[in-house]
Symmetry: C3
């Protein structure tokens, strides 16, 4: 039976998302089943600028949607972001070492068959619609997360 | 045998506490044993304004106690708190979706029999007395946490 | 067979590093196998001021190395750091309770035989050389981490 890796992506930080997606990709390369649950700020990672809508949203949801990061490359660093300057520096340092950007790790994870789940309550509160996020996302509640986590060999909250 | 969920609540953020308590409540609804260990900033969640004392505390402990959040609804957001404005907005958005506030999830967890543990060392350093926190809290050390975690099916650091 | 504790130290915060190292020390005292994986900001904990070099580093790596914390006692708090004032206060409160500083817990963990691993990619991107970090550090990739984590009884992302 395949080993299972289960990750909650709660943070909306570039560096933490990078850690989570590197683990997800590595898990698939080791032939593990990998599930990622996106809650709260973690959902920002799955937005894409071209699918953002303001239809059937409350005023708050529109403001919130406009103020928050739109997809992987828009996420700030958890530390030393310095209004984007620190992040720019880190991205340049990654490029110097031929390390791919976050976007590439997200693409890799999707291609390799990592399962993506979105937290129902977070999506409702933030006003994110399913069509605004990546199409393979399955919307679930906390109990579905727990059932998956119980069966997993590794669970991390990131 | 019952499945076991073990959570360390280290952060003192409204949004992360919400995530932890939603998991704790959902765990109990799935008939799991749920244990929460509160360390460092996580202890703020268990304070109640009416039980806060300054008796037999050092000056530092009094200042620290006065500067820090007093119970669940007093916690800031981990992101976009904007001196409380961002939090106010998120609370309004939660209300629009009929999502209960953090306080209600804490009450639910207590009612459902989630086990609450407090980190002895954190309490000593911060000068929090047992009578200032929720009455069912059991004060333990890191080894007690590990023994519980070893027996658990899911362990998360939040 | 020995029980296994596996920790990812991702954060570069004094308080979170304290939590991780207290768990690592307690794990060894309970006769567990303990492995710590240091990634990203977590690597700051393993630097020592006297081994920092700027040899064969790019300009960015030199700037980054100079701007970031140099070893355990140089780490900031994740909250209420207030440019070091809040940290000073917490350290004084720890001393009042005879709680050892982070440095002592790191020394203890090394003495007790905790295994230290460093994330290869993070080290390359940040430009940290092996000789700048603690000598027993073994440099590994994400797959090595996962293989260790699968065999562990407790895994936490800190």
């Amino acid at each position: 039976m395949k080993k299972k890796l289960n990750l909650i992506m709660f943070s909306g930080d570039y560096d933490k998302a990078l850690a989570a997606l590197i683990l997800a990709n590595s898990g698939k390369e080791l032939d593990m089943d990998v599930s990622m649950f996106f809650a709260f700020w973690g959902l920002f990672l799955l937005r894409s600028p071209e699918h953002i809508t303001s239809e059937s949203k409350t005023s708050y949801e529109k403001i919130f949607g406009a103020m928050t990061p739109k997809g992987p490359e828009d996420l700030p660093l958890s530390k030393m972001n310095f209004s984007g300057l620190g992040k720019r520096m880190l991205l340049d340092m990654m490029e110097d070492d031929h390390a791919p950007p976050l976007e590439a790790f997200l693409k890799g994870a999707r291609k390799k068959g990592v399962k993506f789940y979105g937290c129902k309550l977070s999506m409702e509160v933030m006003g994110f619609k399913e069509e605004e996020l990546i199409p393979e996302l399955e919307v679930v509640d906390a109990k579905e997360y727990l059932k998956n986590a119980i069966e997993s060999d590794i669970q991390l909250f990131i």
